[in-house]
């Protein structure tokens, strides 16, 4: 291979007695050999004014477009510094290359003056972020509005509801998530039971573990943990699915065929998640309490029968209902936010990753915020 034998590009910068500059280049002027020559040229050419230059290129071996561009660049710098340049010894193929590249070389324009000083960039960033934040909020509101209009339309025309898609989505988002929901709620049950057991044992109040587990799991932990798992699992997949469809212009294709993407893609996802999440919360309740029961038995020696009996009197049904009732709200938040971000994906692969992250983070945050709101509201109402 040729490139293994290439010589470094060399350049001698001499001044003769009459004050003329003699440049002598030799070696191969190719992309991997240019460092030395470009350093020398960089050093001298900008500082030379009103000189006459003789540039001898007869000993140059191979030259590629990088080498030629280096030559052209410094030739231009010297010319603009009012130097007269005479090239000697150029070979024919070098000249042809020069003519080709000269045709396409871009004349140097003056550096653009910076629009902002570095000190102002934080302010600029704050402004830009605020504007894009407000834009996002309005876009989200518009999305919700469009969604509600479609929902109302679907309710008046039940035949337009995509039941097939809803069932498929329930399977995807609900049934297939059961193992991971079971595992997390089991572990949460174990953790609560263990933490409670240590404290309650000090007072000999072992049986109150039942109240503690029953109430905390059904009312708060099962809904919250399930919603967070679903936000991570289903929310991200909704954003990525819709994002890729946007990227591959599938959504545009749907629009042109008269299939409203809200009707076909968004509503089925929202409805199916609103159906699946409460069921999953109920399931998580059972697993969480069962885990607590197991630990109570092993650690506090509360028998299963005792636990059950106590649970019936300690756990009011309303707590279970409150927990399950949170489900549709969380589900709506997760599905709406993740579909919205899916539609925001623009024409680059990078933006899928960015919006998927944003959608999961937003969904989890909103779920927790919504849960806090429920807590405050229901406590104030005395429920």
């Amino acid at each position: 291979m040729q490139s293994t034998h290439s010589q470094m590009a060399r350049l001698q910068w001499l001044k003769n007695t009459e004050g003329e500059i003699i440049l002598k280049s030799s070696g191969d002027w190719t992309i991997n050999t240019l460092q030395d020559a470009s350093g020398i040229l960089e050093q001298y050419s900008g500082a030379s004014h009103n000189l006459s230059v003789q540039w001898d290129v007869s000993d140059v071996g191979r030259i590629d477009s990088a080498g030629m561009m280096l030559f052209i660049h410094h030739y231009d710098v010297l010319t603009s510094n009012h130097c007269t340049i005479k090239i000697t010894g150029a070979k024919r193929d070098h000249e042809r290359m020069y003519r080709l590249l000269r045709k396409y070389a871009v004349q140097h324009s003056m550096e653009k003056p910076a629009l902002f000083s570095p000190l102002l960039t934080p302010l600029y960033d704050i402004g830009e972020n605020s504007v894009s934040f407000i834009k996002d909020i309005t876009a989200f509101l518009a999305f919700i509005g469009e969604n509600f209009v479609n929902l109302l339309y679907s309710l008046r025309h039940p035949r337009s509801i995509r039941f097939g898609a809803i069932v498929k989505n329930i399977e995807e988002a609900g049934v297939r998530a059961i193992p991971i929901v079971a595992l997390t709620s089991f572990l949460i049950g174990v953790v609560i039971a263990y933490q409670g057991a240590v404290q309650l044992e000090k007072f000999g109040a072992n049986i109150f573990i039942v109240d503690m587990i029953g109430l905390s799991i059904t009312r708060e932990l099962a809904p919250l943990i399930t919603a967070i798992v679903v936000a991570g699992r289903t929310g991200s997949s909704y954003t990525a699915q819709l994002g890729v469809m946007k990227l591959t212009e599938e959504i545009d294709a749907m629009r042109t065929m008269g299939f409203d993407p809200h009707c076909f893609l968004v509503l089925p996802r929202i409805i199916s998640l609103m159906i699946a999440l409460p069921l999953m919360i109920f399931f998580a309740d059972i697993i969480g309490i069962a885990a607590g029961m197991l630990i109570s038995h092993l650690h506090l020696h509360v028998s299963y029968a005792e636990f059950m009996l106590r649970l019936q009197s300690a756990l009011e049904l309303k707590h279970v209902w409150i927990g399950i009732a949170k489900g549709p709200f969380f589900a709506w938040l997760i599905a709406a936010v993740s579909c919205f971000h899916g539609f925001q994906v623009s024409k680059s692969t990078e933006s899928i990753g960015r919006y998927t992250t944003i959608s999961v983070v937003n969904a989890i945050f909103l779920v927790i915020a919504c849960d806090a709101l429920f807590s405050v509201l229901l406590t104030e109402l005395g429920i």
Binding site: M1, S3, T30, I31, N32, L34, Q35, S38, E42, D64, S65, A66, M69, L70, I72, H73, R96, M97, L100, L101, Y104, A105, V106, S346, K347, S348, T349, E350
Partner: protein
Amino acid sequence: MTNTIINVSDVVTRFGNKLVHDGVSLSVRQGEIYGLLGGSGSGKSTLLKEFIMLLRPQAGEISVFGQNLLVINRSDAAMLRHQWGVLFQAGALYSSLTVEENVGIKLREYTDLPVKLIQDIVRMKINMVGLPQTAADLYPAELSGGMIKRAALARALAMDPELLFLDEPTSGLDPVGAEAFDNLILELRDILGLTVVMVTHDLDSIWTIVDRFAVLGEKKVIAEGTLDQVRENPHPIVEQFFGGVRGRIRIRNGK
């Protein structure tokens, strides 16, 4: 001028049960523009991917610049990758980088040239492939199909490769753009001494710029040579190729 750059002998490629190549042999000489032709699914693009080490054939031998790709070591493979440029069918520009960054990425990664010089080279290449200077700061998502092709060509040419692989360079371009593209490739070949291997369907390209080509079909090379040599081949696939309406019109018009 008759150095062989790429030599392929008895290549067998199989995807699962599907046999794509069953004994493909051809050779590409230095300084020529070599076409790979064939119907859809005849394994042209697969063969191209084997040339650039994205796929490995099950049997046979492929050598590029005298290096056997099936037994090549890491450093030789890296050397080879420096010596060629590849234009993918859909451009395959990095979507998170601007056109200028895309074109200059190999220069920035593999050379120690000053930033200013890299910028000069990149701007010149962008200009050379016929993109306006304003395109330099755009992202691939903001470009039209033809501009993406041009930007991808500029990127393939950035390091002055000795060998250029083009996967359907003119597909998706308008006739004027396609002709300009062909002329550009001819000019570059003449001045930079490139060897070009292109997969193409474009009959015009075959007439105007391709020196020699191979027609793939029935899992083999059914014809190889210059246009006149191939057209004398009586194989039905070749006849079909040049006997269709487009082919006949093209023959009538001549070069």
